[in-house]
């Protein structure tokens, strides 16, 4: 049955309507959870507010478990799902640069749109930065093209990498996530802040 568009149950144009609706849900939940505030987002790095950790990992394990069950029931064909290929060096270097951008800028791309939608000027300036950064990457592409394409690993799953079954891997991830929630709750008590 799923993915609906790949199985031609909906057209590619209808798919774009769904993209818009899914985006509304995405933006609504991000804003409602407080992701429109850079000071709430940055809190995860200092322990005073770990909403990022809680929302991010709850969402990841919810979707992960959902996909495993949908696949188990035969309701979705996971082989038709798009998964980013893994290029080891650029994945690490890109992540490191993004991490620096996160702690300096206080947003990531999705949350900056969310912040901009309710009038945060710092979020709008962050978006200007994003545009510049992507433009610079495109303009200087020949300089880092080799690095960008180096160490291609295919589309490996973390379960394959660890040599265990998807279900067991998912269980481990859920347990790790619960451990992190516990640390998050502890950190908020240990490093409290009244106003921010």
């Amino acid at each position: 049955m799923g993915p609906l568009v790949a199985n031609e149950i909906i057209t590619t144009d209808t798919n774009l309507v769904f993209a818009f609706l899914i985006g509304i849900g995405f933006g609504f939940v991000l804003e409602g959870a407080g992701f429109s505030s850079s000071r709430k987002l940055a809190g995860v790095f200092y322990g005073y507010d770990t909403v990022v950790l809680k929302v991010f990992f709850t969402a990841a394990i919810t979707a992960m478990i959902g996909l495993l069950f949908l696949s188990l029931f035969g309701w979705i064909d996971l082989s038709l799902i798009y998964i980013n290929p893994t290029f080891l060096y650029s994945a690490i270097a890109g992540g490191v640069i993004m991490g620096a951008g996160f702690i300096l800028g206080g947003f990531c791309p999705g949350t900056s749109f969310c912040g901009a939608s309710i009038g945060k000027i710092d979020a709008m300036v962050f978006i200007v930065g994003l545009i510049l950064g992507i433009f610079i990457f495109g303009e200087g592409y020949p300089l880092w093209e080799d690095f960008y394409k180096a160490k291609f690993l295919g589309i490996p799953k973390i379960s394959e990498f660890m040599g265990i079954k998807d279900g067991l891997m998912a269980l481990i991830i859920v347990l790790v996530a619960f451990g992190m929630f516990w640390i998050g709750e502890w950190a908020e008590k240990k490093f409290p802040r009244e106003e921010y």
Binding site: G23, I24, I81, G94, F102, V125
Partner: protein
């Protein structure tokens, strides 16, 4: 604290928000066969703009022209529609919770100007990194983790690990 302030402080329970976001991500996979994303929409807009303003140059810049070749109509892309939705959804949530306000949010210890300079630098880095890393926090890390992609876990660890490693040096900006 007045009622209005109390109302504007009322954020959703983070675990409930996480479950809802997880269901939205699951819907994206079920309906469209792909995860959520953000930076890709900006890339579409840039490719379109460069192509319109300087078509000869866009042709030469292979990162843009390769993308244009694979996506002949870059603005008619899933991520573009999704991000337009994010703007609408964020606005609706902000409106319902009384949080619509034009302002620069920053720690009382720093000026608005400093906050904006850092926001710009952070944005440039995040934009660059999102291209190098083939996706940002939502496209690579969150969506990747949900499908057990090794790359998604690497992105997540690199983004948050670096954030923690650098947090001490910029603490004045936040705490």
């Amino acid at each position: 604290m007045t009622t209005k302030e109390q109302k504007s402080k009322a954020y959703m329970n983070p675990y409930l928000a996480g479950v809802l976001l997880g269901i939205i991500l699951l819907m994206a996979y079920f309906v469209s066969g792909r995860g959520l994303g953000a930076s890709g929409a900006i890339k579409s807009a840039i490719v379109t703009t460069v192509d319109a303003v300087a078509p000869a140059h866009a042709e030469k810049a292979s990162y843009f022209s390769d993308y244009k070749e694979a996506h002949p109509k870059p603005m008619k892309a899933w991520l573009v529609f999704e991000m337009l939705g994010v703007l609408v959804g964020g606005f609706l949530s902000g409106a319902l919770s009384g949080r619509l306000k034009l302002k620069v949010e920053h720690s009382p210890k720093i000026t608005s100007k400093r906050r904006l300079i850092f926001a710009l630098i952070g944005g440039v880095l995040f934009g660059f990194g999102s291209q190098l890393g083939r996706g940002c926090t939502s496209g690579s890390a969150l969506s990747g983790m949900a499908v057990l992609s090794l790359g998604g876990f690497i992105s997540m660890a690199a983004i948050f690990g670096t954030g923690y490693a650098l947090a001490y040096f910029v603490r004045k900006n936040w705490i």
